[in-house]
Amino acid sequence: MKGIFSKKNMTTNEMFVVYIILALSLLIGLVNPAFFALSTVFGTARSMLITSIFALCEMVIIISGGIDVSFPAVASFCLYFTVSIMNNFHIDSVVFAFVCASLFGLVWGMLNAVLIGKFKIPALIATLGTSSLANGATLVYSGGREISNIPNSVDALSQKFLFSVANATGGKSALTVFIILPIVLCFFMHWVLKHTMLGREIYAIGGDANAARIAGINVMKTQFIIYMAAGVLTGIAGISNTILMRNANPSNLMGAEMMVIAAVVIGGTRITGGHGTVVGTVLGVLLITLVSNNLIMLGVPNYWQTFAVGLIIVIGTSITSLRAKKIALSPKL
């Protein structure tokens, strides 16, 4: 016990991500001094909001030895159908929006759980199928059109801020009230993973499902809980996204799975399951958000962005995988 700054603490995976984030922030700040402002913090927090909810769900699923690529499609499904129902039946209630979206999410999560837990279909293939199903349903129903007419009381939420600060230039930067959602979720997930039986079971089935089963853990039940909870949270994230964007778009979340999985893996969660922390995942999301938001500031042309993000993901995931392999092969005391 040498305190927080011991060598062991300074060389963890999370600390490496912190170093990279600091270096990157310095670099961006040197190129563009406007980066060091409260508005950047608010802007980054705002961009991280939805991604971090997705990432926390994805992290739990990856820890349990699975993977989920269906959440963008499920979130789009939830947000579009919820808004559509509310418009058609003239329901103008915030509670209804969230309950309805979570219920849709729950159903999709249950489908994933049945496929993966009951029928033992490889998680990637099962969720690819679910993704296609959910996305297809949304597109057929919507015809590809977006709804920009959000019920008033729900729409008003987008203008609720925790606090706002006036800029030197006279503008105003504000932090949306939705930021509470991922923050609460972070603490809750951390508590579940570290201090409850369920959390330990999730790590156990990710490490070795067979050993977990022999140790008396109901693997299928745990998987059902994980995927259904992830479904509910995905639905909530979807409707939050709609409120923040102030329209219900059936396809603008699609493709988010790449970034989210990358963020989770860069945050030190092993893709093979059994390892991962909330802190690491949040840091991973922060790094990916910083990179994708600020490449323009560094003078990277727009059309190089996909490649640059891809490269960072490949390098990041390779390093984490190599470190995991090294730790796995090192002698255990």
């Binding site: 496929l115 279909i121 597109l139 057929v140 999985i261 990358a262 059309y303 996909t306 891809g310």
Partner: protein, 329 residues
Amino acid sequence: MEKLKKSLKNCDKNTVTLLGIAVGIVVIMAMITPDFLQGSNISSMAFQFPEFGILCFGMMFCMIADGIDLSLVGTANLSGIVAAVIIMSMGGSPVSIIIAIIAAILVGALCGLVNGYLIGQLQIPAMLVTLCGGQLYTGLGVAITKGPAITGLPDSLQKIGNGSIGGLIPYSSIIFVAIAVGMNFILKYTVFGKQLCFMGSNATASRYAGINNLRITLLTYMLSGILAAVAGIIIISHYGSAKSDYGTSYTLLTLLIVVLGGVAPSGGRGKVLGVALAIVILQLISSAFNILRFDSFFKTLVWGLLLIVVMVAKAIIQAHPIKFRRKLS
């Protein structure tokens, strides 16, 4: 008749089932609308399937090796874009087309080698590598084209995708058949094919048996990359232009076809004939939707549903092997 029965018995059940499904679709569609059996529909089908059909064999080999290749579409588009850039910069002469095709195949092989190295040497899961790889290659394609499509490819190149022998047999479907025969040969009659199946069913056992797993992995993903490049060339010649987001729905489609074709997602087993039949079935379904004027979005939904249904059916059959064997025989 006796001979036919015997050969049917020798055929595995999956192939027979697939054949039955294909015939069933044709019969049902012919009853609903006579347009389905018209020459124009059949020839348009023959033009459509080689693009994703060739990709399927890449996915199949990776899946037999207990991996997966989600970067096929990215690789195909990148190769196509490189070919298009070379052709446009050399003025579109026949020589430039040959150089472009060779360059595209080299690009595909290189993409595959990168995947194979990360999977085989660094032991990163194939799913993660190819998911990221797909993003990387697509990004490189975007960077080369700067966003918009490269248009104005010469007619001689477009003949590959749009030309046919006597207006009946498209060149692209001939390429497809040649590749299918070649893949069948590699899988059944070469040492590499046998070693691939061994490694896919049990990587540790194959290493102890003296098989160089790294070499097999590299070769598998390189082969997959080369097939993606061939598909990429057919795609650009079919559209007459190159862009980084053509065929994005093919990733799911190839996965669906390969699973439907009887390749085990856990590796080690798979037949070219099964996959080829699955390609035909999916093309039949796709054409049926076009004729019945279904929304193209509807296809996304059906592909997802089919993938889930096929996987669930396989899981149920696998869970109760004895019950089903008794029922079938």
